[in-house]
Amino acid sequence: MKRLTFVLRRLLLLAFVLPAVSLITFTISRVIPGDPVALMAGPTANPTTRAQLREAWGLDQPLAVQYLIYMQRVAQGDLGQSFRSGRSVTTDFITYIPATVELATAALLLGTPFAVLGGVTAAVRRDTAWDYLVRTVIGLGISLPVFWFGVLLIIVFSAQLEWLPALGRLTVDTPIPPTITGLYTVDALLTGNFNTLRDALLHLVLPAFSLAITVVAPIGRITRTSMISALQQDYVRTAYAKGAPPRRAVYVHALRNALLPVITSIGLAYGLLLGGAVVTETVFSWPGLGFYVANSILSLDFQPVISFTLLSALVYVGINTLVDIFYSVLDPRV
């Protein structure tokens, strides 16, 4: 009963957070100086065209009315129109999201094993050279700017060594596999298109690596910290005392208990990645959500930016709520 109240309270909060986020982003996008029509129409459009545009985009209404119209449309699943792409934002999201999901998943799959293994072994061999190595890699991962590191990767592995392609999801002449999931690797596999699969995988390597190193660094750090504290617990000492082999003491007794915050951090990292890695996607011309939104911002194409912010807020709040509920299940004190 108490848990049910907790869950309900969280969901109620959600109902307030989302409109608040949308209100703030909407207002910011509309009160910054300037008229979006001026940009859409260009400097030499005639007044009729401008009036048509203003009406078509609802910009002739008062701000409050514009917001209500917008929210009403959102409730009906209409996220507005992008004047840059000439399509509805929903269509655009459907086009761009699979690329982001593919890259985020690849980065997570690539980085998490290293992060967890590195964190655990660093904790076990605390203050050794290995621990320092892991910690410096983590430090680098957190502090390396992607716009620099990504370009460096391109120059070394694509331009100099010519081992890997650096741009986009496929080589320009590789046929795009029929859309099933929108993830090129999965679709190519499902349709037995192995040349495309190979090309898609090769294209994933550099951006996924560059993204992995930044995003999994926090996972490694949390694993290490959590593992160190687990190793100091009584039950681990007990395990050792009763003669459990060190491997078992570490990987069964300590790790199992240390994993909870690690799993949470993996979930949050994935949520973060799904929000689109703007810089990585730009450097590698990876046509995902981050790339789309960055281009929209540069073109002052407001509708996609507002809807993207709303979507990100939804994903974030959603994941946080799930994590909270998950904790309440695991820890009755919450």
Binding site: R125, V151, A166, D173
Partner: protein, 573 residues
Amino acid sequence: MHTPRLRPQALPGLLVCLMLILAACGPTTTPTPAPTSALATAAATEAVNTEVALTEAPAATAETPTEDPGAGEPVTLIIARTASRTINPVGESNIEGAQNIDLVYESLVQMDGEGNILPSLATAWEPSEDFQTWTFHLREGVNFHDGTPFNAEAVKYNYERLLRVPGQSGGAWTSYADENTVEVVDDYTVIFHLTAPFPTLPMDMLYIRYSIVSPTWLQANATTADPEAMEFSATNASGTGPFRLVEFVPDQRTVFERNPDYWGGEPGGKATPQVDQVIFQIIRDPEAARVELEAGRVDIVEGPPPLQFEGLRNTPGIALIGFKVPRIAYLTMDVSQPPFDDVKLRQAVAHAINYDELMQAGELGFAFPQCGMVPEGLTVIVPPDPSLCLYPYDPDMARQLLSESAYPNGVTIDLTYAPDRNAGFEIEAQLLQSYLSEVGITANVQALDVVAQVAKMAEGAYGLSLFVWNAGIPDADDFPGWLYDQGRLPTNESWVGSFWNDEAVMQAMRDARGSTDPAERQALYEAANLQAMQEAIYIPLFQGSKVFAYQDNIEGLNYTVFRRLNIWDIVKN
């Protein structure tokens, strides 16, 4: 913990150093074929054709074993650009999108490289005495890419559709037409009964919105939610142009193939393409685009940033070219209010600027001196007139003019610019600030986005605005016709921030717009231009250019005054 320490703090440094050393191993000397796929290899080998025979091309030869990649194999031209925009002629207002549209669609008229109007889907046209009724004779035997014929009904459908679809920009059709305007005389003759005289209609028809789309195709792809198939048209196309759209993947690639049934074109205009396939590859990061170009995987890079010019010039196999375009960078100010209502102050600013240094530092040589506000390359040519160059760089003269002005002790003003509008503005704004401070004018430099900058200009008394003006179509009306006619749009909608409300000049600009006599138009523009320069209404800085970096086996690259790349003329050796 007794493991000997390795000074682990040094590890990341070592790692990065190693990569930097690798990265710095000099420029890519011999681009070997890329390992990824057949076309990457093909592109790379074609780019360095002398080395093809010596280099093993693993992926390509596996599928298509050929000794001579030049013969028989389709020739693909890969052009790197930063964004894909749309391919919808109705609704696209950006020059990048116009380039897509130009390949697949045609209008009734077209423009050659020098700015002359040529026949296209119309073979001839004649206006009535009062320019209110226009007869167009259409080309026979032209088919749309979907196989349906082009005819008078297609023109009627498209021009009437212009009245129905929102979000269109450029061109004045909606101001002159209604639902009774288009009359179909026979299959290949249409008459336009306009609501007002429109002497420059053929010129207006150069705007991409006048492109003729297959009506059958439009109707087949309309839905109840989207009755004009606008969303479908954003990434699909069916026109009559020299290329057919194969694939449009937003922000990824746009693929065109040669239209084998193309009607052939008019001399000087669009033509049957020399290459089989054109791919616009979207590469957002300019450094990454440069890497692809140097590796031979891209043939042409559109608009590399000035910072790369020096390096690209010194790369073997890469050429750099800048085309003069109708585009002026200039300073504008509110001449109706203090402080810039003082002509001496405006003249002092003009004399304070070291124009040559500005062009060299900001544009790295890819800019041309500009006097007056009419650039070269417009249809009514106001020839470069030395008498318009009234304000050469002369700081002493600037100081003197300032001392004679209402602000002998100097003045503090804002200087705004939009970095996105021109890559060189960042540097140029700093330079301008220093030139002005040398003569006693303090400028607070502010970077804004263009919408915010235009909004600030519309408020008036905004200080100095570093701005750039482009022609939508290359007619003089797109320069003085706007810049000297502050009243053409309401102030809050105008990008013209001069507030120069000289009634005689504004009337002259309206007369020039309504006139069909080139000599008369030229005289009107010349007079206005001279008066504006004498009063220092604007301070022109330079005429801009569009720069391309490309493989030196590419020939025939030309960027027209119409601001389009003539892709059909490009040859890849």
